[in-house]
Amino acid sequence: MTPVTPPAALAPRQDRKAQWLLIGLAVALTLFIVVVPLLYILWRALSEGLAVFAQNILAPDTLHAIWLTSAVAIVTLPVNLCVGIAAAWLIARFTFPGRKALLTIIELPFSISPIIAGVCYLLLYGRQGLLGPALAAADIKILFALPGIVLVTLFVTGPFVAREVLPLMQAQGSEQEQAALTLGASGWQIFRRVTLPNIRWALLYGAVLATARAVGEFGAVSVVSGAIRGQTMTLPLQIELLFNDLNVVGAFAAASTLTLIALVVLVLKTLIEARTR
């Protein structure tokens, strides 16, 4: 690594020392806050050998938790993409009364603790809740089943895509789209040929963040899950459960799986980037 050297006059010796000190500090912090704990998870998961590790991962409840978490991520991603793009487009390209309010509402989940989201859904869709009796009469199950988990995950991951796409759309302005329009392109053509290519990196980044969050969400899901083993336990819930059951190797094995899913998402992002470039 070659540090960018500013002109000699601007970089006296002390400054360079300070530079190295800061770099060292950043590296040390990253090491101890991020890298070491993650490596430790893997090390603990494998501490009793590969066979025990595999056996823990393949335990039916853990396997189901992996599947459920993936299912939640797969269901929430397209919804997040569509709603995120639509919201960003609406806010960036149009002025209408309530535009600021819409922006605030979209960002609201960022500032609200996930546990509150869970409790809200409980109070709304619960048996004693506002919509509870009507849902029960129609025999529709939302809480303590997949729909409830998907709903709270959507709540928690909602802002990511719009939040990433919106600033870019605003910065780029609408000139290219207007040009396309004057050349006779249809709405769909403009979106596909002009808008989408312009925002693809932001979109991808938002999708990655939203997915990472969907996979890792604990608080909100824990309220609406009902913790039925092998049915409504997502991977984060399963990890806590194994840990509380004094099954440390199982907990770390499950945790390493979650870490692995996160890494796969990151690698995918890098691959797509490399290919599209």
């Binding site: 025999d139 009902g226 913790a227 039925i228 083993r229």
Partner: protein, 331 residues
């Protein structure tokens, strides 16, 4: 994979039609009962198959028993509950989900097994802890969870209190003094029973852990290397583990019959034997004798006899500003 995904989705959405000759019930239970019911359920499934020719799957959900009760009130479709607090089933009865005379529906006040707060000490019992008195000594570190959040710890509090009352001929002030001394020896109050266990066994803090006898046996087995030793005090409080059919849900789903059979099964010799093997005390004298080594003699008192019932305990001891608040000085 695709079909599995579709099936699971359909199941999760509640769209799948029930398969013939197949029963499914959900047992919503307290936090630390997983291993116990994982062992009991296959035995019941086999019995049910033999009796009726139908197969049954029993799903389990475990958590703090008050949290579980709350979830059921909001629609968690429990067919049966197996809790460690009478008050949590009372809450369901008030909500109209459980029959209000639920305590008469099964023998022994609907409690198929019971336990008591007991001690677990370090190898060789270096601090010579044999009874509640020893917990109030200077220099003894006592570990149990926070009685504000843990039903387990509330039993510990009541047992210490009952012991002191018994010893001081019912002198309330002396009993409160004693309990205060014990509480002053607790270095950390964890949220729940399992967290306290981790503090004692994993982090190595404290000289004695107080938790249900049913749990001390399991921990001693789990941490065999540490050679932890079980100690049973001379007197303790009987902790009931009540069960009930969640009538409203079971009738809705048509599982009333299998739900009742499942809870009846907990009283059968096979189930009682599994319970006793896991350090839960049972009423069957023959089986108790079989596992006599698990159950040292102890004088058991009930919350009803010493404290006049749970309503009164709640009001006098655990309510805001109650006796617990006056002895719980280092929270």
């Amino acid at each position: 994979m695709k079909t599995r995904l579709t099936t699971a989705l359909a199941l999760a959405l509640g769209l799948a039609s029930p398969v013939a000759a197949q029963d499914a019930i959900l047992n919503v239970s307290y936090d630390i009962a997983r291993e116990l019911f994982a062992e009991l359920n296959p035995v019941f499934a086999q019995k049910w198959q033999e009796q009726t020719g139908r197969s049954v799957t029993i799903d389990q959900s475990h958590g703090g028993s008050s949290k579980q009760a709350r979830a059921i009130l909001e629609g968690l479709p429990a067919d049966v509950v197996t809790f460690n607090q009478v008050t949590d089933i009372d809450v369901l009865a008030e909500g109209g989900l459980v029959d209000e005379n639920w305590r008469e529906a099964f023998p022994n006040q609907a409690s198929p097994y019971y336990s008591l707060p007991a001690f677990l000490v370090r190898e060789g019992n270096p601090k010579n802890i044999d009874d509640w008195d020893d917990l109030a000594q200077d220099g003894v570190q006592v570990i149990f969870p926070n009685p504000k959040t843990s039903g387990n710890a509330r039993y510990t509090y009541l047992a210490a209190y009952a012991y002191a009352l018994d010893k001081n001929n019912g002198d309330q002030a002396a009993a409160q003094d004693f309990v205060k001394k014990v509480f002053a020896n607790v270095p950390v109050f964890d949220q729940g029973g399992r967290a306290a266990t981790a503090t004692f066994a994993e982090r190595g803090i404290g000289d004695v852990l107080i938790t249900f006898e049913a749990e001390t046996g399991g921990i001693a087995r789990q941490y065999a290397d540490a050679k932890l030793e079980r100690v049973t005090p001379s007197l303790s409080v009987l902790a009931e583990f009540p069960v009930a059919v969640v009538t409203e849900n079971a009738e809705d789903k048509g599982t009333a019959e299998v739900s009742k059979a499942y809870l009846d099964f907990l009283y059968s010799p096979e189930a009682q034997r599994v319970l006793a093997r896991n350090f839960n005390r049972v009423h069957d004298e023959g089986i108790t004798a079989e596992f006599a080594a698990n159950f040292p003699d102890v004088k058991l008192v009930t919350v009803e006899d010493v404290f006049g019932g749970w309503d009164k305990v709640q009001e006098e001891h655990f309510a805001e500003g109650g006796i617990l608040d006056t002895v719980f000085v280092n929270q």
